[in-house]
């Protein structure tokens, strides 16, 4: 058995980017099937246009259209494409000097083998049929084999592009520390395990790889009581994206008897407006068959019915 527990996490969001006027102009061009470059103060013709002039730092205002045909100035073969790359089959990333531009443009070249790519070869844009005003309006580049590419359709009368949606997803593996892993494994057995810091003698739950006060790992295992005191809390009334508990709910710091630090959990079986600082609570476990190595084995905490704890028994934990 591995010393540590791990679990996959995906963090994903469709980011809404505002482009500003310069990149908006470029993307509007793509939607119309033309390539808009910026002319800089030192005479360069750059595509996409830089938002600000590299010499004068003024906003770019001089735009020119450049040809969808150009010459490969450098390339790199992608033998094993990954998700969200321009093609799902092997392809080349190419730097293309478009006719009329002075700086190369990065995109993908759709050929079957690296033998079909060479510096100096002539390539041209292959437009996507349905264009939305995004860099993906260019499917990719293809070798020039016939003289005249089909011209794009008439220019759109839609409003200029001002924004794009950029889906971003991160997939990673979350690893709990060895100390936390022991805590989560304890939960899988119906036990709440803390550890005492050998230096300052504080009992941490969950235990720590490094005590925040003195940096030493907590070591001495302490099985904690299933009862404790609500130190302070918040009633969450606000719904939000990704929320897993339906509001309103009480998110409370519970100081277990024998612990020196409170942890956050849910308080139920009492109306939210009757939850109090100092209220005595006990863990309510889910049915054993639903247990895993998670604090979610404890469904929630509920009042024990004991008198509230005196303020000075928990005031140093606020």
């Amino acid at each position: 058995m591995s010393r540590t527990l791990s679990a996959p996490v995906t963090v994903a969001f469709d980011y809404t980017r505002s482009t500003g006027p310069v990149l908006g102009r470029f993307l509007t061009g793509l939607r119309d099937g033309v390539l808009v470059a910026g002319r800089t103060s030192d005479g360069e013709v750059v595509v996409p246009p830089p938002e600000y002039d590299p010499v004068t730092h003024a906003a770019t205002t001089d735009f020119v259209e450049v040809s969808p045909t150009g010459t490969v100035v450098s390339w790199s073969w992608v033998a094993e494409p990954v998700a969200a790359q321009p093609f799902d089959r092997p392809f080349a990333f190419v730097l293309v000097l478009l006719d009329g531009a002075t700086k190369p443009f990065l995109h993908a070249l759709d050929v079957a083998s690296p033998d079909e790519v060479s510096t100096g070869m002539r390539v041209r844009v292959r437009w996507r049929a349905e264009r939305t005003g995004a860099i993906t309006d260019i499917e990719g580049f293809e070798p020039v084999t016939d003289p005249a590419p089909p011209a794009p359709g008439p220019r759109s009368t839609l409003d200029p592009v001002t924004g794009v949606v950029t889906p971003v997803a991160l997939d990673y593996t979350y690893a709990a520390s060895p100390e936390e892993s022991a805590f989560y494994r304890g939960l899988a057995e119906g036990r709440i395990l803390g550890q005492r810091c050998p230096t300052c003698a504080k009992v941490y739950v969950p235990p720590r790889s490094a005590c925040p006060a003195d940096g030493t790992p907590t070591t001495d295992e302490v099985e904690l009581s299933q009862t404790g005191t609500v130190t302070t809390f918040c009633i969450v009334n606000v719904p939000f994206l990704g929320q897993r508990i339906t509001p309103p709910y009480v998110s409370a710091y519970v100081l277990l008897d024998g612990a020196d630090i409170a942890f956050l959990h849910l308080i139920l079986d009492i109306p939210a407006d009757q939850v109090r600082m100092g209220m005595r609570v006990e863990a309510v476990w889910k049915p054993r068959e639903e247990w895993g190595t998670t604090i979610e084995n404890i469904s929630h905490f509920r009042p024990t019915g004991e008198p509230d704890a005196a303020y000075d028994t928990y005031s140093q934990h606020l």
């Binding site: 809404t16 505002s18 482009t19 600000y52 606000v238 604090i295 606020l318």
Partner: protein
């Protein structure tokens, strides 16, 4: 060797809005930068180094945005640093920029901090569930609400004090053309009547989600000599601490008290309430005004709410706090700390416009971030500091 004198001679900010969909991230920064440079009478070419700050990258979904922003910010060929200390970052970024001048490394440093919150959703970004844990987290409001409850319990403050702060800051914002919220007619009663979001924090007691940027030009003594109204830096302090530790004081964190003590010592201040004319304090949730008043030493522990309740923190009070409308009226997170630092500078330069406090000579700029874990603050003054 002691620090070289340094001063703020340019302050710029954007019009803060829920969505600045007319500009890109670079455009947002440049709007603030160009105003700061114009204020300073300098051009981007004259700047020696650029220091950028913003809050978590997850807010815009761009890893290390300083890489793609470098050219647009005019940083090509110059040192470019990025600072990150969560919500306090705008303050820390200004302090890093100031330290480059105080250390004699550079003479003219431009610093800019921004957030474009409309590109995602901060509530989502701050509540990503962690495996094996209980998914009870509910954004920044959910994090801070229990600690506000602790403050109320500890101090015995009347429960309407938070509403006093919110009504004051929203009213102050009406005098600030850059503020995001211009909510006419906000009163203690209207705040108390607003929806309870994260009990005990109501809707009107929370900061908005804003797009915005702030920039400062910080220069050495020689360059400052050409400015009609430099804001001299009298002290800077940053402190950090663990977010969770046994018996950590979450209402009045040690790092905050330590930073304040260091700051007042550097500035030669022994009684902050008497010697500071105006303060811009990072108050994203209304109750943090009395909490930080105590932690910063403007009031004895447990009595900060009395300053607020009695009107002493209003524009015409003994210690006007957040005359700009504060974080409660504009919250481009990464920029919010720098806005506090910049507004403090505007006050001592006599350049705060409609929200100027007459005769302000020394001002505090303050920011905090994380789980009340990072603190940054400075004192600026109209006079050159004595050595």
């Amino acid at each position: 060797m002691s620090k070289q004198p340094a001063a703020v001679i340019g302050v710029g900010q954007t019009h803060h809005r829920a969505k600045r969909d007319d500009v890109s991230m670079a455009g947002l920064c440049r709007e603030a930068m160009d105003r700061a440079l114009e204020d300073a009478g300098l051009t981007l070419d004259e700047i020696d180094a650029i220091v950028v700050g913003k809050a978590p990258d997850l807010f815009e979904g761009v890893m290390m945005p300083e890489l793609f922003l470098a050219e647009a910010l005019g940083a090509a060929g110059k040192p470019l640093l990025r600072v990150h200390t969560a919500g306090s970052v705008g303050g820390s970024t200004a302090i890093v920029a100031a330290s480059l001048v105080q250390a004699g490394v550079h003479k003219k440093v431009l610093t800019v901090a921004y957030e474009k919150q409309s590109e995602s959703n901060a509530m989502w970004a701050l509540s990503v569930p962690v495996p094996f844990n209980m998914p009870v987290h509910a954004g920044a409001g959910g994090y801070f609400a229990p600690h506000v409850r602790s403050y109320i319990r500890r101090s015995g403050a009347p429960t309407h004090v938070g509403a006093v702060v919110a009504a004051k800051d929203r009213t102050n914002a009406l005098r600030n053309p850059y503020a995001h919220l211009h909510n006419e007619g906000t009163t203690v009663e209207s705040v108390l009547a607003s929806q309870m979001l994260w009990d005990p924090i109501r809707y009107d007691e929370t900061c908005p989600s804003s797009d915005g940027a702030c920039a400062l030009v910080i220069v050495d003594e020689d360059v400052a000599a050409s400015s009609p109204n430099p804001a001299w830096i009298h002290g800077t302090a940053m402190r950090s601490e663990a977010t969770t530790a046994a018996e950590r004081d979450q209402v009045n964190p040690q790092a905050s008290r330590d930073a304040a003590a260091s700051l007042w010592k550097q500035a030669g201040i022994t009684s902050p309430i008497d010697e500071i004319d105006v303060a811009e304090i990072y108050v994203p949730f209304s109750w943090f005004e009395p909490m930080w008043l105590e932690s910063l030493g403007f009031a004895e522990e447990g009595t900060g709410w009395k300053l607020t309740e009695s009107g002493e923190t209003a524009m015409d009070g003994r210690l006007p706090v957040n005359c700009s409308g504060g974080v409660l009226s504009s919250n481009p997170i990464g920029a919010s700390g720098m806005l506090r630092f910049g507004e403090a500078a505007l006050q001592v330069r006599g350049a705060a416009g409609e929200h100027q406090v007459d005769g302000a000579r020394r001002a505090l700029g303050h920011a905090y971030g994380g789980g009340s874990q990072f603190f940054s603050m400075w004192v600026v003054g109209a006079e050159k500091p004595q050595h």
